[in-house]
Amino acid sequence: MGFIEFTNTSVTYPGGLVALRDVTLTIDEGEFVVVVGLSGAGKSTMLRAINGLVPVSGSVLVDGREVVGASQSELRAIRSDVGMIFQTFNLVNRSRVVNNALMGRLSKVPRWRSLLGLWPAEDKEIALQSLERVDIVEKAYIRASDLSGGQQQRVGIARALAQEPKIILADEPVASLDPVTSHMVMRDLQRINQELGITTLINLHFLDLARQYGRRLIGLNDGVVVFDGDIADVNDEVFRGIYGRAITPDDLLNEK
């Protein structure tokens, strides 16, 4: 469980923009993979190909299930096993923290229960436990908009955890955060990967963060995978291959 297999995967948006070209690679269960590349290189698209949020062609196997050509209910089944974390947190600001975490349980409860808002006790418990895991449970009953950026991202992680996912996709999870909170969130993600064995894919812009937390690195340039290997093998030359230029202080979080 928890493995991802891209085979000749491409993503073409309705406007004709090709954001991912012919990607073939496999991510094993429990891996912690960092995806880097310039903005517009296709990082976000690659993550969204996994849970079918973008028009994908070729083949994407998630835990043995095919995303390409899946029906709505099949897609929902795949998505329910894949938690997603966003750059802008994407919380419902007006809702309480616990309700945001409960959104991760939407695909797990009977529809009539969710329609009436009658959450089973065990689902509430799972949501609260997810909040505990990211150390934010004491804020459970206040509005999401009343939290700081770092706290909001933790709620975002808790929402993903509440799905009890096999895979977590994090789309630039620290891009809206300051350096200190960035490290906290990265440590959270690392810990979750190690303790729960959840396969984790993270898009990052900062190279030092990638080096510090990642094990495997995938480099994208214009929708094409230009590097895929151990993070220890990444040197300046590899970096130039991905970014098309030398490293600048802007690419390093700790230099800022």
């Binding site: 849970n51 949020l53 897609l75 929902r76 089944a77 795949i78 998505r79 329910s80 096993d81 894949v82 938690g83 997603m84 966003f86 802008t88 947190f89 994407n90 919380l91 419902v92 600001n93 007006r94 809702s95 309700n99 959104m103 991760g104 939407l106 695909s107 529809r111 969710s114 329609l115 975002g156 929402r159 993903a160 799905q163 996709l169």
Partner: protein, 452 residues
């Protein structure tokens, strides 16, 4: 080559502002007025109008050439002689048709000004002549027609007007048309092409407005006459009478409360039901949350149809369907009324919610309904409650009117008393409606403020 060479930099000429036209225009008007009052007709003040326009053009640097002065003077003489002749030779009152004919004179003159602009300003096509002609001619028609039809020049229509009066009229027209034409054609440096559509639209609106004033017989004189009767009317309405016999031979009772409660109930049933029904519709009618393009179009189309039908027509329709004077008819009409307003307001609010939470919910495997309920609805919930209160407020007012067409409530009572010419009783009902609508509005505003 240097990057910055002051020699090659072309600075645009500052466009003339409206204020630049004013001085020469004023001089022209005064001169024209003074001379024309003394007696001479058409040709002479035509020449003066032409000279005054040349003054404007000279002042704003369009032309300094004597030929242009000649063109304008000749155009003025020809055009205004014609205008003069049409007005002087008329037999009937000044109606729209006559205004149109008389304005041909100004059309001729406008063409002359257009020609001068075309000759002196590079970049203008010959069509400027036509546009200028239309601007002057159209402006003159409108000004003349407006002045006579709205009663400002009413005395002129009563008899044949003398020369001096035509002159005065012409001076007035010169102000109106001169300023508008100056704005049209001579705002030289801004591309005319970009202004024409809005000018055209403005012209059409102006024409329609003037025609509308005329058609509904808007008259300041009529208002003034009616004002003198206000004392009589007040006597009929005041003081209000609160009690009257319910039917012949019965003692006087206070009959307003019961139908008023009925109105209140109609409004509540209409608002609650309509707002609930509008909830799913609103999400279907927003591109943000509609499950598909087809669903979006169907919902939008349905709402457009419902909204086009006025509440009064719904009232008539349901009164016919379920029984005249039946409050149920009023409630049904109010449901449709509330539904259309709420769905419109809410779907537009949904259009502007942030899409992030929707994506997050979708990414977690939620169904479409769950996405709407948990990611979209919380974002618009305060608006929904606020709109609900507002619609309840509207319903109280609308259901009064609905009663007139047989949909029950206090409107029915009001209509009944009105048919008996019991104005003092009508007054009592109006006071009750006024006070309660005011109270409900205050309450609703207070509650809405609490919500935000």
């Amino acid at each position: 080559m240097t990057l910055f060479d002051p020699e090659t930099q072309v600075r645009p000429v500052e466009p003339p502002r409206a204020v630049h036209y004013l001085l020469p225009l004023a001089v022209g008007i005064i001169a024209t007025g003074v001379v024309s009052w003394a007696g001479p007709v058409g040709p002479l003040w035509g020449a003066l109008v032409g000279l005054a326009t040349f003054g404007v053009l000279f002042w704003i640097d369009v032309t300094k050439h004597w030929i242009d002065a000649v063109v304008l003077v000749v155009g003025g003489i020809l055009g205004l002689s014609f205008f003069d002749w049409v007005l002087a030779a008329r037999t009937g009152p000044i109606d729209f048709k006559l205004s149109l004919v008389a304005a041909i004179g100004w059309l001729i003159y406008g063409a002359a000004t257009g020609f001068v602009v075309y000759r002196n300003r590079p970049g203008y096509r010959p069509t400027i002549i036509g546009y200028q002609a239309l601007a002057w001619g159209g402006g003159a028609t409108l000004a003349l027609f407006t002045a006579t039809s709205m009663g400002v020049l009413a005395p002129l229509n009563a008899r044949q007007i003398g020369n001096g009066e035509i002159q005065a009229l012409t001076v007035g027209l010169f102000v109106v048309t001169g300023l508008s034409a100056a704005a049209v054609g001579l705002g030289a440096n801004l591309s005319l092409a970009t202004r024409l559509p809005s000018l055209f639209a403005g012209g059409v609106v102006l024409v329609l407005t003037v025609m509308a004033y005329n058609e509904i017989q808007f008259s300041t004189a009529a208002i003034a006459t009616q004002m003198t009767r206000i004392g009589e009317i007040a006597d009929d309405f005041w003081p209000p009478v609160w009690k009257w016999p319910k039917s012949l031979g019965q003692p006087d009772t206070f009959n307003i409360i019961q139908p008023f409660i009925e109105t209140f109930q109609i409004a509540i049933v209409g608002a609650v039901t309509g707002n609930l029904l509008a909830l799913p519709l609103a999400f279907y009618a927003s591109r943000m949350t509609s499950p598909s393009n087809v669903a979006y179009r169907i919902a939008k189309g349905f709402l457009n149809v419902v909204r086009t039908i006025p509440d009064l027509v719904w009232g008539i329709f349901f009164a016919t369907a379920v029984g005249f004077g039946n409050p149920f008819a009023g409630a049904l009409a109010m449901i449709m009324f509330s539904l259309s307003i709420m769905a419109k307001l809410l779907s537009e609010t949904v259009d502007s919610i942030s899409i992030g939470p929707l994506e997050a919910a979708r990414a977690s495997g939620a169904t479409h309904t769950q996405v709407i309920e948990y990611a979209a609805f919380p974002q618009v919930k305060p608006n929904y409650v606020a709109y609900s209160l507002y619609i309840f407020e509207l319903n109280i007012r609308a259901s009064v009117v609905i009663g007139f067409v047989g949909a029950g409530g206090i409107g029915r009572l009001l209509n009944e008393r009105r048919n008996f010419f019991q104005w003092d009783q009508v007054m009592a009902i109006v006071i009750v409606i006024f006070v309660s609508v005011l109270l409900i509005e205050w309450l609703s505003i207070w509650a809405r403020r609490k919500l935000v």
